[in-house]
């Protein structure tokens, strides 16, 4: 069957590798991917492990459905204690690496210790070698992958690697595969860098036997048909996530000039449609028919002629609206740079936007910025700052430390201008008009984030029957209210919690969030996941069992965070969400701020629905029911 991939525990300090079976009982309880990673992270780290020290572990995994017939089965998950936040470090990455890892015989890698010299892992058909990577150190992401393909004389190897930013321990460095696939958030590239681990290369010729081949083929075809029948998928096929910007900016949901506005005036230059001039086609992850990525060649500026992939909606914000730039070329150039050097597009853009607001307010001056004129809309300065952060040069060295540490160095009240939660900066979305989305970023286990629990469909004000179909008893019972107004505080705690479970299931199965209920209510979720698992693997898990597994893993992420010092105060929005109303946008978005009391009420409700106490700690009864009530939970 498809589920005989192993767990490998690799110690880079003593160069040992031990290979373990993953018992079916563990799979049923934690699925795989992010779900099982949460379990491994909790068990393989001690409280207070230095995120950049040898005792931190880096876990790399493919999902339960990785490589199988599941509409998109290429997603890889990576976890560690985050050097950015100190809490759960967790990021999901597309491309082709995860299936190749599984073809090579492994579903999860736990990597600990620190290599004495720069090294890479070569994982080939059941064997794991720790190899010398001195010759790769200093190479960028693209050079590293090309060099490894050449060295291993196989163009079909799949590589996860870090760029110079990861080597230099930029606290929001990424782990990359291909041109644009990034484990972007929470600084996992720095963890890899701290271990002297430049790359992980996988190649496998193993077969993944499908339990019911004909039925799985047919079901996958029908699922793909259904996905592609949505207008969202059709739009993504053409414009990728960049399409979101046109509508959100028109309404006033787009954070601009750090946090000074919620709409980029005259921002047409950033619209997805402009990609038509530079796009040479589309790219996709393993098995995916949505193919949301642009493949493009930069036409103008210092990087003219360069081939790159992406950019995403996040980069339109990071190097567009947040920094007040209106030139798509700036977005394209910076997207290329962060991918090449291996840095998180969102954190990079946020750091620059924050510095720009400080600069405009006179809190920092040219003396702080090495003479760089950090006014909003200075395209050249933005591109230069991206380079300096990646290289930790001058002021870039301070920004490379991430929001809280950088504010600690700058001082002068600069912390108040950060748009961060738990030490991680937010997407360029402005959640002041949308309480549900605000609760989502406040409570997400990895810090301010839009893909851990965002009820994206809430902003459509869907008809109630649609909300009922999605959120009521699907599959977990819910008797509370559902309200189809995005400005309401009622019933939103459940929507956030539901999405949290749904995205955890998606990340644990190793499929893509664009193929589930995120931006459309008509895409697959628990019922379909249950069927996919059965047809592919023969494992019978009811939708409710998948929901419970997601709950189990999410609870473990929460417990990990609590072990590292998380309190209710960390589930909190930046102060300006409460005190400064949005200055721009259509009537539904303008003049909005979050009501503090009602927000606290939502938070109480959310904790209650989770069976967490008022401080946000899972209750003993919940832990007992989920079977994770003992410590350690059980070491695999």
């Amino acid at each position: 069957m498809a589920l005989n991939g192993k767990l490998a525990v690799i110690d880079l300090s003593d160069r040992s590798v031990s290979i373990k079976e993953i018992p079916m009982s563990v799979r049923k309880r934690f699925l795989g991917g992010r779900g099982l990673d949460a379990y491994l992270l909790y068990n393989y780290t001690l409280p207070g492990s230095d995120p950049l020290g040898p005792s931190n572990v880096m876990i790399v995994s493919c999902g339960l459905l990785g490589g199988l017939l599941a509409s998109s089965s290429g997603r890889c998950h990576i976890m560690a204690r985050s050097p950015l936040t100190g809490f759960v470090g967790s990021s999901n990455i597309g491309g082709y690496f995860a299936p190749e890892l599984r073809f090579a015989g492994f579903d999860h890698l736990v990597i600990r210790g620190r290599a004495a010299i720069p090294s890479y892992l070569w994982i080939n058909d059941g064997r794991i070698e720790i190899r010398d990577a001195a010759h790769l150190w200093g190479k960028d992401v693209f050079e590293t992958q090309a060099a490894l393909e050449q060295e291993l004389t196989d163009r079909a190897v799949q590589t996860l690697c870090i760029g110079p930013a990861g080597e230099k321990l930029v606290r929001f460095a990424t782990v990359m595969t291909g041109f644009k696939n990034a484990a972007g958030r929470t600084g996992l590239g720095a963890v890899m860098g701290s271990k002297n681990l430049k790359a992980i290369v996988a190649r496998g010729s193993g077969s993944l036997d499908i339990a019911h081949p004909e039925a799985a083929l047919e079901y996958n075809r029908s699922i793909n048909e259904r996905i592609l029948a949505t207008k969202i998928a059709g739009t993504m096929q053409k414009w990728g996530t960049m399409f979101i910007y046109g509508g959100t900016n028109a309404i006033g949901f787009v954070r601009t000039n750090n946090f000074l506005s919620n709409q980029l005036e005259d921002g047409e230059g950033l619209e997805a449609e402009n990609m038509e001039d530079v796009s040479v086609g589309h790219g996709a992850c393993f098995g995916c028919q949505v193919h949301c990525r642009h493949r493009y060649v930069i036409k103008e500026g210092a990087y003219a002629g360069t081939y790159a992939e992406g950019p995403e909606y996040s980069s339109q914000g990071a190097f567009g609206s947040m920094v007040g730039c209106r030139d798509l070329n700036t977005v394209l150039a910076c997207n290329h740079l962060v991918n090449r050097d291996g840095m998180d597009t969102l954190e990079t853009g946020n750091m620059i936007a924050w510095a720009m607001e400080l600069f405009e307010k006179g809190i920092i001056t040219l003396a702080d910025t090495d003479g760089i004129d950090l006014r909003f809309g200075n395209d050249e300065a933005v591109i230069e700052m991206v380079r300096r952060i990646a290289g930790r040069v001058g002021f870039g060295h301070i920004l490379a430390e991430g929001p809280l540490r950088a504010a600690g160095v700058v001082g002068r009240g600069s912390e108040d201008y950060l748009i961060q939660i738990k030490g991680m900066s937010n997407l360029h979305s402005d959640e002041r008009p949308t309480p549900a989305l605000a609760l989502g970023i406040a409570t997400s286990s990895r810090g301010a984030d839009h893909i851990r629990s965002r009820p994206g469909i809430d902003v459509y004000n869907l008809p109630l029957p649609t909300l009922e179909r999605v959120y009521r008893d699907n599959p977990a019972p819910y008797a509370g209210p559902l309200v189809n107004r995005f400005d309401s505080y009622e019933g939103k705690a459940w929507m956030v919690l539901w999405q949290e479970h749904n995205y955890m299931a998606v990340d644990a199965l190793g499929v893509c969030k664009f193929h589930t209920i995120f931006m459309s209510p008509n895409l697959p979720s628990f019922t379909e996941f249950s069927r996919m698992v059965e047809l592919n693997t023969g494992l019978c898990l009811t939708p409710l069992q998948i929901w419970d597994a997601a709950n189990r893993s999410y609870t473990l992420e929460r417990m990990f965070n609590i072990r590292e010092g998380l309190t209710r105060a960390h589930d909190m929005l930046p102060e300006r969400y409460f005190t400064v109303p949005t200055p721009a946008g259509l009537p539904m978005a303008k003049g909005k701020s979050i009501d503090r009391d009602r927000f606290e009420g939502m938070l109480d409700e959310y904790y209650g629905l989770h069976e967490w106490d008022a401080s946000g700690t899972p209750t003993p009864q919940l832990l007992e029911r989920l079977g994770i009530g003992w410590e350690p939970t059980d070491v695999l």
Partner: protein, 67 residues
């Protein structure tokens, strides 16, 4: 954002849905003339620039600025 997914109580065919946009101002649905680069919402009068994914499928690109 504000996709056309199930945003009307009545069932619509895929063709109807693709040919319609949803006004970002009043959230009402309307069908712009085929191939038009902009259109006014018949419900609230707001003007929108349009993008055609193909000959039959349209979405709002952004506000149309009246000069």
């Amino acid at each position: 954002m504000l996709g056309e997914e199930d945003t009307q109580p009545k069932e619509r065919s895929r063709e109807e849905r693709d040919a319609e946009v949803r006004c970002l101002g009043c959230l009402g649905h309307f069908r712009p003339p085929s191939g038009a680069d902009h259109a006014d919402c018949p419900h609230c009068g707001a003007s929108w620039r349009l993008t055609w994914l193909d000959a039959h499928s349209v979405k709002i690109r952004g506000p149309w600025k009246k000069s």
